[in-house]
Symmetry: C2
Subunit: 165 residues, 2 copies
DNA sequence: TATAATTTTGTTATGATATAACAACTAAAA
DNA sequence: TTTTAGTTGTTATATCATAACAAAATTATA
């Protein structure tokens, strides 16, 4: 699994979105889960943002489109999408990000730029294996991993401070 | 650096607290920082809890003792202590934990038990080195690391579910 | 198809975490 | 001693998340 493309990288993001939604439909169907209108649209809206989206930002967008605008609406959709592995939560940002590899079981490891707030998901089996070993060695049964690295992305390092992408 | 003792391990926790406060005094003095009454007491209260303490839990304790009871009081103290490296924030819990090794520069890596909510800090230079290398390889300048592993601690694995320590 | 069971959504209220802004005070420096 | 920088007090508000229960829609069963 390799998904380390920068959000800056030139690409047709509509393709990303389409692929993600197709994958979501398939995965939900396989698992007997219902990708309802609001869930589907929530996922799409998250994907339309390259950067992680906050729950209330998402709620505002949904409200604009006539969906119910109370918080439980968005948190239920987020819970569903998280449970289905279609999105990740970035704990240190309280924000949500579409996962491009929902069909492959994996942990969400992130590189988060302090300057432009773009987030890159990366995969690192060596890290995962080492963490498992470390935890097991201490008699700890590992269930979830939050790996969030913050700093300055390559683009922002090359730019004068403040000029975020 | 080795600080992998379980909070369950029998020990005189008053010694931990005393040591932590002594270290804090020394570090602050060295850096020309002022460990004021409220900051010192906040650190002490955090240390008195083996488990990470929420900001408002801490605020309540401070208020009981006659300190100002508005949120900025506690968040200012927390900011100070975080900045001085005397405590860590556990992002996935929104809670704060005393660091037993404030005198040694290090990243806070945690093992968090879903059952008893105890948190063990662990150190793993290999992981740190690997993450640095990974980030650098992508042109990313790494500044901070959030490594939070959740699951079931050894004690809780050995116990019937629900009987948290 | 009718009915029941299950899941999803609507709605209101509240809880939990964190910061902005500005005034008052205090300690340190000049 | 005046200035300066740092700290604390105070009020208000922003931001993130869940509880509880009613209504509607979907799915399963009779
Ligand atoms: Zn992913
Ligand atoms: Zn950047
Ligand atoms: Zn530490
Ligand atoms: Zn435990």
């Amino acid at each position: 699994m390799k998904h380390e493309d920068s959000p800056h990288t030139h690409h047709n993001h509509n393709d990303c979105i389409d692929t993600a939604l197709d994958t979501a439909e398939i995965l939900c169907a396989q698992q007997g889960q219902r990708l309802t209108k609001v869930r589907r649209r929530a996922l799409e809206l998250i994907w339309e943002s390259h950067r992680p989206l906050g729950a209330y930002q998402l709620l505002a967008k949904l409200a604009e489109e006539g969906f119910n605008s109370a918080p439980p609406t968005v948190y239920r959709a987020l819970d569903f999408l998280l449970g289905a592995g279609l999105i990740h939560k970035v704990e240190s940002m309280n924000a949500y990000l579409g996962c491009a590899h929902a069909d492959k079981a994996h942990k969400g490891y992130f590189l988060i730029c302090d300057e432009c707030h773009n987030v890159m998901e990366f995969d690192y089996q060596d890290i995962h294996a080492a963490l498992i070993e470390k935890a097991t060695h201490q008699g700890f049964e590992l269930r979830a991993e939050t790996i969030e690295l913050t700093g300055l992305c390559a683009k922002c390092k090359a730019k004068p401070a403040g000029a975020s992408a």
